[in-house]
Symmetry: C2
Subunit: 408 residues, 2 copies
Amino acid sequence: MPYDIAQHFRQDLPAPAAARFGGFPRYNFVGGHNDASGVPVDAFVEAASKALTREGRTLATYGMESGPQGYRPLRTFVADMLGRRAGMSATADDVLVVSGSLQALDLVNAVLVGPGDTVVIEEATYGGAMTRLSRIGADWVGVPVDKDGMRTDALAETLDRLKSEGKRVKYIYTIPTIQNPTGTVMSLDRRKALLEVAETFDLPVFEDDCYADLTWADSRPPAIHALAEPGRVIYCGSFSKSIAPALRVGFIVADWPTLSQMMPLKTDGGTGALEQMVLAEFCSSKFDDHVVSMRSILKAKHDAIVEAVSQEFGTTAEIAPSEGGIFIWVTLPEEVDTSRLAAVAGAEGVAINPGAEWSADAASGRRRMRLCFANPSVEDLREGVAKLAEICHREFGVPTRGGNVIRS
Amino acid sequence: MPYDIAQHFRQDLPAPAAARFGGFPRYNFVGGHNDASGVPVDAFVEAASKALTREGRTLATYGMESGPQGYRPLRTFVADMLGRRAGMSATADDVLVVSGSLQALDLVNAVLVGPGDTVVIEEATYGGAMTRLSRIGADWVGVPVDKDGMRTDALAETLDRLKSEGKRVKYIYTIPTIQNPTGTVMSLDRRKALLEVAETFDLPVFEDDCYADLTWADSRPPAIHALAEPGRVIYCGSFSKSIAPALRVGFIVADWPTLSQMMPLKTDGGTGALEQMVLAEFCSSKFDDHVVSMRSILKAKHDAIVEAVSQEFGTTAEIAPSEGGIFIWVTLPEEVDTSRLAAVAGAEGVAINPGAEWSADAASGRRRMRLCFANPSVEDLREGVAKLAEICHREFGVPTRGGNVIRS
């Protein structure tokens, strides 16, 4: 008889994992996976060899010779890169290397958010941001997003309302550059307007820029961090989307009062040294070129999935073409419930993110879905979308026509 | 004027980091650092090259092809290695790769411990285990350790008392194989007795075996996990001590009810893939030989620091020579307060762990200290200990004689 340890578990735990990993779905439109041919394997081998040969012995010490903020050459690269690409004026001292941008979310919440607090987020946003708040016992309120990003007029109204209701708002969470899931890029004017609202309501901003390197356009607006006074904006970015998600390396840029408060809460003894070394070595000479090539791979897949959805779902699907990144956000007719669609399609090997899980107000996401396109081949994108349309037709009667076939 | 974000911080945060990292102390007797010459740099270069060339493209997916429990070849190695070395019968399915054994501690606590709960620990134990419980608002109670490990008679008495006091005990925490900081190895009989007590009191055991590969002896007793029914013992180990601490890779071995409940709480999107790949590749052919060579490096340093302390502190220092690992535990006369010694010596470039931080009852650790010996050179071990004795004499009047010099 196995011992019943569950009697000692905390009473407030999330649902356990349902099953062991059994491989990826046949048509995988979920998760921040990337294109396998985009992984710079040879350059990684070279970077690993160079970095290890030069300073592998420093692996004998926690944090190598760089301390708990992370490997200094990587922090220096991040600061320079953000200066060049996002107009920021950070130095290596303002960077905390973290174990993926997910840890950045955890650290921001650990420092700022307690039970009963409220965070203002974009109406459609990263699902994991909400599950994290939920775990803490915090609330969130969504603000609409249009093609220029979070609507700052609605943001001000929302904050006014929350103030009158006596809510304790802790920060404004935004994914301004390739918003997840809507794929928009916040305009420069909006960024400035957002900061004005934050000032009016005396609130910090958490800028999650983890897709920012993947805009189709060659340049992107300056980071909100670049436009603000010190201390106002906590910025995070990642190498997961621009290079490879299995490397768990992201970064927070913030001033010392914030970083110093996060450091004792980063209880993992540092982020993986080998990954930091290899990234620093690789990025110092190859980051910009790599990003250009990654973008062109992703743009081709983006266009392929947009075409496939248009063809298979016809006019029943409203697609907001993304301005970069790895996903599209699709709105279907009223009669479709994407949570049910996800369950049925999932059982048939087609995985999608139902809109309810990616929406501040689950009901408003009911007929929406996020499709990630970076990992499947173009052929699988087409096949998977065709299969999804077929299942959607069977379950909800739409689309009635797709792939040049009238469905009945 | 920088924005005052601190007004929004949670009110219950630990003290912030006091200062940016300014390099390691001149004589560094703290932290789980290891010997730099022990890092198998060339073998790592080879392992990185082989693993990346073979399957670097899988870095494009979270968890590679192995899912959230971690890279399967590494889990297979861990299960085999623990079978061979620790008598365990785990398979890859029972292993969760974690981002260092520190994350194992966090996950065990996240699943089991809430505010007001109690954990039973060894009287002298890893300081970080207590700071973690403290952060959760949980209590701990220490059980004495002798040369055979945790005293199980005292364990039973303690649990009886806690029961009569109505305390909610969640688990028994032990570091049986090279106990931190006392350096003892729990005998087989004690392991069995500990399990009997755990059964009597219907409690799970958390076995932290992160130093277990570094016993001076060629073999070690079976893990407590190996002696228990399924589900009773959560086991954790690490590559930090046996290979290199900057690689943040450890492992938990537990049954599915426990692992499945931990997985949604491991919110980091997986442990670094490159580190897992390189470790799996390296360990599959070189782990055992590496450990033998690491041990002999460490044994020489252990003997050097024991000799230095004996020489410099004379009979005023009572040293428990360790049966392996990277630290010794030293007891000084009543008049010495090692917290003050640590502060004064720290300011003069000699870092030590004061016993109060490594003791369940801070007062009982007042005259004790932990000295980590793996990282400094033998010459620095000698110089640093001499300097420490000199400072100790100046502050507390002991030792009166050391290094063949009468101090006055």
